[in-house]
Amino acid sequence: MTSKPSIVADTEYQPSAVPFWRDPDKRAIVFQVVALLLVAFVSYYLFSNTQANLERQSIATGFGFLGKEAGFEIGESLIAYSAADRYVDALLVGALNTIKVSFIGIVFTIVLGTLVGIARLSSNWLVAKLAGSYIELMQNIPVLLQLFFWYAIFYESFPSPRQALNPFAGVFLCNRGLIFAVPETHAAHATMGWAFAAALVIGWGLHRWGNRRQARTGQIFPSIRVSMALCIFLPFLVWVFAGTPTAMDVPELQGFNFKGGVTVSPEFSALLLGLVFYTAAFVAEIVRAGIQSVGRGQVEAAMAIGLLPGQVLHLVILPQALRVIIPPLTSQMLNLTKNSSLAIAIGYADFVAVTNTTINQTGQAIEGVALIMLVYLFFSLSMSLFMNWYNKKMALVER
């Protein structure tokens, strides 16, 4: 051995001789198998424990309870519901309520957040400082505390229905919420909705056509303005043809409460206010960052080639700012949706609150919590899918 060290070394230096724990590829496989086994084992352990516990304590399992009568009322609902309906109906009502508050909340948040974000950059010292204080204040107080606060304001400060504030004709404000008159249901309303939808489709078509024409001939077609006019004009036309129905469903105090009109409950309002004020502070910072991310030079260059201020905003600033704004904005929208689960603390019947009641009634906690997680995962995953699609669409096409 000692006589011919080099040859020995040569024969030993063979890839096949590498022990498997020194081979990164094989080691990786071992790692993964171990990790998977571990996860499988832990899941099995938890599952079997749960199984044994449920059996021993004779707790009912499965989703059979969904078909049983719920037996509890829900304060507000987008669809017809009564205590005689099934649990699955109650849960659907809850899910719709979650979607309702999230959707309206998101719309208001974007509007308020954008306003505050722009105000933050205002050259008016007072406005900028106010916007800044607003952002700091709202970001640094837990949203749950804000919800409690708004709800307390609602029921402690507003008068009872009999002394309801009546700022405008047909609008009442009291501790039962905001109640306002709406047009009485009329057959023409559905047609007006269709007319509006048709206007949107036509508008979209006009926009595409306008763009193509502009690319071809350089002529600009004011597609946005035309579409907006269409959206107002078409439904209006239908309304006129239907004989201009003007009957209103005016709320009236009958017995305990207002009858008629539309009621926005204090729970919903408090939840909406809390979520919007809280999330808007984060959105404002995102908007500010987005606007600031567009270099001054971009604007100057755009003006130098003769674009109008509106065009500068529309063609230069917005496309670039939005690329920065949209991803964090989406995650804030998702946060708002998730935070809407705090509704349970102030008695708004969102999905979590209804599921919670269901858990109390049926004692089936596992199924209930699993449902909550599934529903929110569904919201989140759809939002992520949208994000991925958007990111791909907006990705910089590098030249």
Binding site: S123, N124, N140, K338, I359, L377
Partner: protein
């Protein structure tokens, strides 16, 4: 500003009086265009409408430390609800006469936090200080040594609980989050999938559902007769939740590492562990300190959610105080007090994070 220039060697034309001083400031900051002037006037009018009555309610017509009965006949705020119940709000069920212990523990924590703020103190010794500090706090809270009365975790409530949930949520969530982030960047498909599924699942659901899980489902997962303390279960839920968010922040840091760093480490013959431990993580973690503080901030705010599963954090002790018949109806005052408390803590944190971001940025 009216003092003559020191060297009157050359004639200076003084700027017009509307451009300097108070007037100048007013002109350039509040009344520089017609719509800014209009805006200023509208805002001032609004403030005029809002501030004086609020001020009167809070400071003029208010009482600060009186029995509950005295609060019923006044127009203003009844701040008495705080001082009269302060020991329960702050310390919850911690036994009377021993409340100096959580008090000192919290001061210790505050001291450590303030000490750690200075980046010059970021050395190994800092970790030792923290370890010693945490052990001391543990002894102070739990007792059992030096003749201190043993106080079980179920009596830890109020402010100490809030701090504990946030602190351990971060301390234990951080390493877990780093592991998850490394796993997500891993080249092993199974590991990567597991980490991605975990991170996305946790981030996709509200914290409240995890807390529900910890409070009503988790006990069923364990074999018969084994139970976890309720506080500990909530703590675990908060840790698991925080870790997923930390993982995303750390992933951002890892992605920001230039490819060259990995290649250089590899060419030096470092293996994966060495590369990560010696080259990548120290740099990546430094970048993500400010966003990590952001996570700490939201963890701190999120601890208030344990109210919903009946843990006695500071929000819950306040609410219990408010359900005492004597003090019902003063929720606005109590909530404002809490809001101020949370605001001070969070503002200090976010302010610090912003400063740090600037400091670290220039350092690179």
């Amino acid at each position: 500003m009216n003092a003559p220039p020191k060297k009157p060697s050359r004639e200076f034309l003084k700027p017009p009086v509307t451009e300097v001083g108070v007037l100048g400031w007013l002109h350039s900051n509040l009344f520089n265009t017609w719509y800014n002037s209009l805006l200023t006037v509208v805002v001032l009018l609004m403030l005029w409408q809002l501030v004086p009555p609020l001020f009167g309610w809070a400071f003029v017509d208010s009482v600060w430390n009186s029995p509950a009965e005295a609060c019923r006949d006044i127009e203003g705020a009844c701040w008495s609800v705080i001082p009269q119940n302060i020991s329960f709000i702050v310390f919850g069920f911690f036994p009377d006469g021993h409340q100096w212990r959580p008090g000192i523990a919290m001061l210790l924590l505050l001291g450590l936090v303030i000490f750690s703020k200075d980046s010059r103190h970021w050395k190994k010794s800092l970790a030792v200080y923290w370890l010693v500090g945490l052990v001391t706090m543990g002894i102070l809270m739990y007792g059992g040594l030096f003749g201190l009365l043993v106080v079980d975790t179920d009596q830890w409530s109020g402010l100490p609980l809030t701090f504990m949930l946030a602190l351990f949520g971060m301390v234990a969530g951080y390493p877990l989050g780093v592991l998850l982030a490394l796993g997500r960047r891993s080249r092993m498909p199974a590991i990567k999938t597991l980490c991605v599924v975990y991170i996305e699942m946790i981030r996709g659901v509200p914290l409240i559902s995890l807390l529900f899980m910890s409070s009503v489902m988790f006990p069923l997962f364990l074999p018969e007769g084994v139970t976890f303390d309720k506080v500990l279960r909530a703590q675990v839920a908060i840790i698991l939740f925080t870790a997923a968010y930390i993982a995303e922040v750390v992933r951002g840091g890892l992605q920001a590492m230039p490819r060259g760093q990995f290649e250089a480490a590899e060419s030096l013959g470092l293996n994966y562990n060495q590369t990560m431990r010696l080259i990548i993580l120290p740099q990546a973690l430094k970048i993500v300190i400010p966003p990590s503080l952001g996570i700490l901030l939201s963890t701190f705010k999120d601890t208030s959610l344990v109210v919903i599963i009946a843990l006695y954090d500071v929000l819950k002790t306040t609410k219990v105080t408010l359900s005492n018949p004597k003090w019902t109806g003063f929720s606005t005052e109590a909530y404002i007090f809490l809001a101020v408390f949370y605001f001070i803590c969070c503002y200090a944190m976010s302010n610090y994070s912003r400063k740090l971001e600037k400091a670290l940025h220039t350092g690179r």
